[in-house]
Each structure stands twice: as C-alpha cells, then as structure tokens.
C-alpha cells in the first residue's frame, strides 16, 4: 500500500509540474526594462525607508537662515465703523 501511495504521489507531483509548466509557458517573462524598473523601484523604496532623522546632517550642517521681505499695502474702507482691529 505504501509503495502504491508513493507512486500516486510521484504521478500527481509530475502532473502538477507539467501542468504548471504548460500554464505559464505562454506568459512573457520579465523584460530587462521591467527588471531595471523593478530594481529602481526597490532602491527607491529602500531609500524612502530612511527616515528624516536617519539623514540628519547635524545641528550646524543642516541649519539654514531664511529671510523673507514683504512689502504690504492694504487699504480698507469699512462702513459704519472705523477700521476694526478685529477685521479679518
């Protein structure tokens, strides 16, 4: 009985292998371009897994000084009241 069962398993495994082979036979394998894109995506994903703190350049190295100069002109006419401090 054991021998019969083993033979059946071998036959089933072989049939499954042949079936899978036939099933995927007509599918296109990944092209070089796809592989390259895939690799690039993997690299990008790996890079994006680095957190902002992982890429910290240090207290001085990451510092910057920004100056914003604003010229502001506003003319408001308000009915029934002088210009209100709470306007807008």
């Amino acid at each position: 009985l054991k021998i019969t069962l083993n033979i059946c398993r071998i036959i089933l495994a072989s049939a499954a292998s042949v079936g899978c082979g036939l099933a995927f036979a007509n599918q296109h394998g990944p092209s070089d371009a796809m592989l390259m894109t895939s690799d690039a995506e993997s690299a990008a994903q790996a890079a994006s897994q680095l957190s902002a703190q992982d890429e910290a350049k240090g207290f001085i190295g990451g510092s910057h000084l920004n100056l914003t100069v604003r010229s502001y002109f506003d003319h408001l006419q308000q009915e029934g009241a002088q210009q209100s401090a709470t306007y807008g």
Partner: protein
C-alpha cells in the same frame, strides 16, 4: 508696511534622537498709516493702530526634537491645523506659544497634535492671552489632535478634534475626491464638517453647532469652476480662535458666512495662465451670497446690554440677522527662475455688502503684497 522675517532653523543633531532649535527676528517698518489702522500697522494691546515707525520682536523661537519622522517642538511657532492656522494676511503673521507634534512615520498618514496657551497677534510684539474671534472670550489653552489620510492620489480624508478650555470642544472631518483628467474634465468634490459643543465652564454660553460646506469643482486645463454650499446649523456663531484662520469652510473668503442659521452659496472661477504661456501667474474671482442669518434665539438670552455676550448677538440695538454678499478678485504671480525665484506678487480686491444688522460690516479691501524670500545659507 515692510515686514521682515529672518528665521534661523538649525539642523538636528545626529543619532536616534535629534535635537535642534529655531530662532527668528521679525520686524516691521511703517511707510504710511498709523492711528486708526488697526493691526495693519503696529498696534497696542487694545488693538488700536499707533504711530510707531518700526518694531521688532522674536516671532518664532522654539526647541525641537526628532525621532524618525516625528518632530516635537515647543515654543512660539507657526501652526497649520483645521482649528489653528497662523493668520498671515498682514505684514507679519501671528504666532502661537505651545507644543506641536507632527508625525509622518506611517505611510500616507500625517498625525498632528499640540497645545497652545498664548499668541503674539498680528501687529503686536508680545504674548497675549487666547480669545475667540467673534465672542472675544478669553481662555487658557487650546489642545488639538488629528490625522490626515491620503488614501490614494485623488482621495484625502481628515479627522481632527480640539478643545478650547472652558469654551468648546470641536470636531472636524473632511473628505475630498477627484476623478477624471484635466485635459478633458477633472471633477473634485469636497466636504468639510465641524461639530462644536460647549465645554467646561462654557464661557461663550451654550454651543451646539453643526457646520458644513459642500463643494464641487470642474477643471478643464487651466480653467477651474467651483460651486460650494455652506450651512450653519445652530443658534450660535461658528466662531474660532482669534489670530487664527482656523476655518476651513469653503465659503470663508473675505468674510466667514458663519452667523447662526446662515446659508451661503459661492461661485468661483480660477485660471492658471501656465496653460497660456505665463507659468506662475493665476487669477481667481469669486462671488458669495449669504442669507438666512438669524441670531434671535441667543439674542433673547443675552438681551441685557450688560450681559457678557450681548454684543455677540446684538448690533446697534438690533438682533444680528440678514443677508450679505461679496465679490472678490485676486491675482498672483510667482517668479519661476533666477535670483528672485519663488518671489510672489499678489493683488487682491474684495467688496463686501451687508445688511446693517449683519455681523460683518460692508467693506472694500484693496491689498498688494510682495514677498521676496532669500536663502542666506
């Protein structure tokens, strides 16, 4: 007025936990105007404009710590949440003193939380207590938390909660979704919803408010048309924190359309001139009509002129009510290249016409703002 914001932002020390700081010098020089100009120039604590020629103060200063993509700050800083947005429509923006936490450690999620206790208002140089914009009620602390979720490229959701201590608890939810291609038509729907309930001592009285705006826009190449409807469901004003633009309702433009029971409808048109060979230049024009405002229910509660909230619901002896409308036009040009890259010039014209009994006065605004950012190092 010339406003200058010099902000030094340090990097973070290296290691698992990084530390840093931000310090700044804000300054203003009045070229014209003075008393009677409110916070458009330097102003005293009562809010009156004064004749001071120049002023300077540290508008932003904080210490910060970062772990992974989570940053915690404490100090005077600029905020951006559905309840607390540093109002920046003067020479210098308002800043707030408190703690903030922003985390983007989870993919597609941005978590925000914080708590503030003071503000440096526009036109002033020192910390002042928090208060509500319309009610003028002072309170000690505003605390918030919430999350923004970018479901996919076209769908975004937000859920936030806040507490203005002893005034109100407020909840905010929004969802926006886009479909289509702007080369044909791209449709975008946007829902904003706030729920507000009085909290603790209820310094601004009983508050039970549902507020929503529902917008639909259609974009074809450079042209975008938006129609939005907004409604205040409740007997109170949809009030918010003074010095904050923390009102993300669609129809909050020149004025807020936030009176009790008010409904409003907006039609807005925007053209992006990059499709016509002028990248960086855009023009937006809009009209909003508000109707059905009626503060009668709360006015009867605060009919006594000596009561604390009388002026919130009464105006010149009449109950606040009625209709109003506005028309607006704003054009912006953003320099695209060269040494002036990212500099902006913005011209804004707004006309608001209101019934004598409406809470916001009729007004005309002409505003020209030029920003020149310089990265010194």
């Amino acid at each position: 007025v010339i406003g200058n914001q010099a902000i030094f932002t340090s990097g973070f020390t290296q290691g698992k936990l990084g530390f840093g700081t931000e310090v700044s010098l804000f300054g203003g020089v009045t070229l014209a105007g003075g008393r009677g100009m409110g916070d458009m120039v330097h102003t005293d604590r009562r809010g009156s404009g004064d004749d001071r020629l120049a002023w300077a103060y540290p508008g932003v200063y904080d210490v910060k710590a970062r772990m992974s993509n989570t940053t915690l700050k404490y100090g005077a800083q600029l905020f951006d949440t559905p309840f607390l947005i540093s109002h920046d429509n003067r020479a210098l923006p308002a800043t707030f003193l408190g703690a903030s936490l922003v985390s983007t450690d989870m993919q597609d999620l941005t978590f925000k939380a914080g708590s503030i206790t003071k503000t440096i208002p526009r036109g002033q140089t020192a910390l002042q207590p928090l208060r509500t914009e319309y009610g003028g009620v002072g309170f000690g602390r505003l605390t918030y938390a919430g999350v923004d979720f970018q479901y996919d490229r076209d769908t975004k959701m937000s859920l936030h909660v806040s507490r203005a201590a002893n005034v109100w608890d407020r909840y905010y939810a929004s969802v926006s979704h886009s479909a289509g291609n702007p080369d044909a038509i791209k449709w975008t729907g946007l829902l904003n919803y706030y729920n507000t309930q009085n909290q603790g001592a209820g310094k601004q009285g009983s508050v039970h408010l549902n507020t929503y705006s529902l917008g639909l826009s259609g974009q074809h190449r450079g042209h975008t048309v938006l129609a939005s409807f907004q409604q205040i469901l409740g007997d109170q004003f949809f009030d918010y924190l003074n010095q904050s633009a923390g009102d993300l309702m669609s129809n909050s433009m020149d004025v807020d359309y936030n009176a009790p029971h008010e409904k409003s409808l907006q039609l807005r048109y925007t053209v992006d001139m990059k499709y016509y060979g002028v990248p960086g230049f855009s023009v937006m024009t809009w009209g909003v009509k508000g109707w059905g405002a009626d503060a009668g229910a709360m006015a009867s509660v605060y009919a006594d002129p000596n009561s604390s909230l009388h002026n919130l619901y009464w105006k010149n002896g009449s109950i606040k009510q009625g209709s109003h409308w506005e028309l607006g036009l704003t054009s912006v040009y953003v320099v695209q290249s060269g040494k002036m890259k990212n500099s902006t010039v913005q011209f804004t014209l707004m006309h608001h016409k209101a019934a004598k009994t409406y809470s916001d006065n009729s007004s005309n605004v002409y505003r020209v703002v030029m920003n020149v950012p310089v990265n010194l190092f």
